[in-house]
């Protein structure tokens, strides 16, 4: 299994990263290679990302309706199931639509993480291990060792506080853009926890791993933000929450969000985003 993983996923990605380094300016070669590979991978996964994004938004929009159903059929689970499925079918939403694309992307992310760690090769053992994954090509051989300095970042060293903060902040922004406000205290508590926990965890992990990985996370987050901005249109719930505060309460938004789109086009994110209604 490990051999298959290396042969078909890890080694091509690792060698691609090294080959990209070889065509970059020496001063910033590895940093730029990480950025470029991240962009390439994100572009390749764009269909899945969009599907995931649309499903997430559609699911969020349907929450009030689902809640109504849960209240209505609290004592009849069978009926609840049927009505829920019916609601999904009417809206043209697959409940697994936001999870499956994410699952499909994991192996790619893991391979990318492994590639960066291996190419950085911070210890002699790691360097020896790296040699097992390299293709016999002059392009690859001449690219090594990569220059692990990029801007102020030593990509082979851990503990870059500024980079960790940037990762945490960018992840918060990205999540905030798609986290719908809610009047349900339980739901709000879960949302708030997720909104804080994920950026915090990634910021902490950014301090633990060689900085090549946090750089990848940062670029990936920025691409994610840009994708959401251009595809969905605007800053989403990031701006809506600040608007809410300015308007002095959350009731207006809750009311609007409580009336999610039910048409197939808008549920799949193809129409105007519903938060634009109150903009």
């Amino acid at each position: 299994m490990a051999e298959l993983w290396n042969l078909f996923i890890l080694d091509p990605m690792l060698n691609g990263l090294v080959a990209l380094s070889s065509i970059m300016p020496r001063e910033v070669e590895f940093g730029l290679a990480i950025i470029l590979l991240t962009i390439v991978v994100r572009l390749a996964l764009t269909p899945l990302t969009l599907k995931q994004l649309r499903s997430t938004l559609a699911m969020q929009g349907m929450q009030p309706k689902l809640k109504d159903l849960q209240k209505k059929y609290a004592r009849n689970q069978q009926k609840l199931k049927q009505e829920t499925s019916k609601l999904y079918a009417e809206a043209g939403v697959n409940p697994l639509g936001c999870i499956l694309p994410m699952l499909v992307q994991f192996p790619v992310w893991i391979a990318l993480y492994q590639s960066i760690i291996k190419v950085v090769a911070v210890t002699p053992d790691a360097l020896l291990d790296l040699s097992q994954h390299l293709y016999s090509s002059p392009l690859i051989a001449h690219a090594l060792p990569v220059n692990s300095q990029f801007l102020w970042i030593n990509l082979g060293a851990s503990g870059d506080v500024l980079l960790a903060m940037l990762v945490g902040a960018s992840m918060w922004v990205q999540q905030k853009m798609t986290t719908a406000p809610t009047s349900d205290p339980k739901q709000k508590s879960t949302n708030d926890m997720m909104l804080m926990m994920m950026p915090f965890m990634f910021a902490v992990m950014s301090l633990m791993f060689p900085s090549g990985l946090p750089l990848f996370w940062l670029v990936s987050n920025i691409i994610g933000i840009a994708t959401q901005y251009f595809v969905v249109g605007g800053w989403g719930y990031l701006r809506s929450s600040s608007a809410t505060t300015q308007r002095g309460g959350s009731h207006k938004i809750v009311d609007v969000v409580a009336s999610p789109p039910h048409t197939k086009a808008s549920a799949s994110g193809e129409g105007s985003p519903w938060w634009k209604i109150w903009k």
């Binding site: 993480y113 053992d125 090594l144």
Partner: protein, 395 residues
Amino acid sequence: MKHVKLLSFVVVVALASLVLVSCAPRGSTPTVGWSGPTFVNGMVYVGSTEGKILAVNVSARSKGLDFPSSADGEWVYSNPVSSGSGMSCAQSTSGVTIYGTPVVVPDENLVYIGAYNGKVYALGMDTGVERWEYPKGEGNIGAVVGSPVVSDGSLYVSSSDGRIYSLNLTYGDKKWQSVVLGDKLWSTPAFGNGVIYVSTFDGYIYGLPATGIFSQEDVEASWSYHAESGFVSSPVVYSGTVFCSFGNNLYAVREGSNSTAWNFSGGKWFWASPLVREGVVYAGCLDNYIYAVDSQTGAEIWSYDTGSRIVSTPVFAGDYLVVASEDGNLFVFDLASPSGGESVQPVKVIPVTGDIQSPLCFHDGVIYLRSQDNYLQAVDIGEGRVVWKLPLTGK
């Protein structure tokens, strides 16, 4: 709500798997080092995979006595310092990793070793008691990967901070430290005619005055050679030529010249340091082959596929060349009467237990090696078998 929970679960699982994958051996290679053995006066000195230094009496081992037998001068030195880089699971290790081979100076009655925690230690040859460490106290230099070298009454150590350090043998005081020569110095320096030869991680060989490299001008005034790629073995000087490997190439560079005399390409990296004898360079390669190359022309004389990577530096054993493949086989080649022309065959293949990455040591018909499963093994070449093996986990 149900789907939010499911999504949360997926995210948590993804993060956990990410951490596990990144910290697991496949994501980040554990550091155990490849310290080789040194034989002096009936004792073998070696670093273990756990970062201990051990003195092993060959005679006591042959008799199967309990280890360590202090009556036979055996001891174990456990380094009190732990290495690693902060919280990073990608880099940390539980003990002090030792990559270099101990160096023994009987006149000083001391054993010297450099460690990955950026310290150089001098231990009593008979007792294993620490005599000095450099730098003293809490400080350290960059991680030491190459072996220390003794020349003209000084100890020379290369460091990952890109510098060479010259130390007093008796007290460990610093005589001088060089300017930064390169990205990392993970190799062992070589000496010849008052010149110290250093190969750097970013592809340079320097020939510098052993009396001291105090400024960038000293470096610029000295001889240097730049190869097109990095990753180096330790240089070897033979008959006015420096042999060193960079990436897939084995280079021969005449001292004082800026051009390559020849280079020989292997299928993968030449990780192990080459050996030279009677006009032939022997170089083990990660493509599984041991190559015999003409030292003047770079022409291949013969090669042999060992079936596994050659990480360990081979050793001459009288008229024989002994090569270890990583999967635990010793190949013995008769250099006095090689047969088979270009398809030279080993006269013996001796299996041992565990992987072999450490350099081999030869004395009086016996090969001493430390395998990666943390055993010191004595292999009698004549008998073609392991005559004793010792777990290096002694307290």
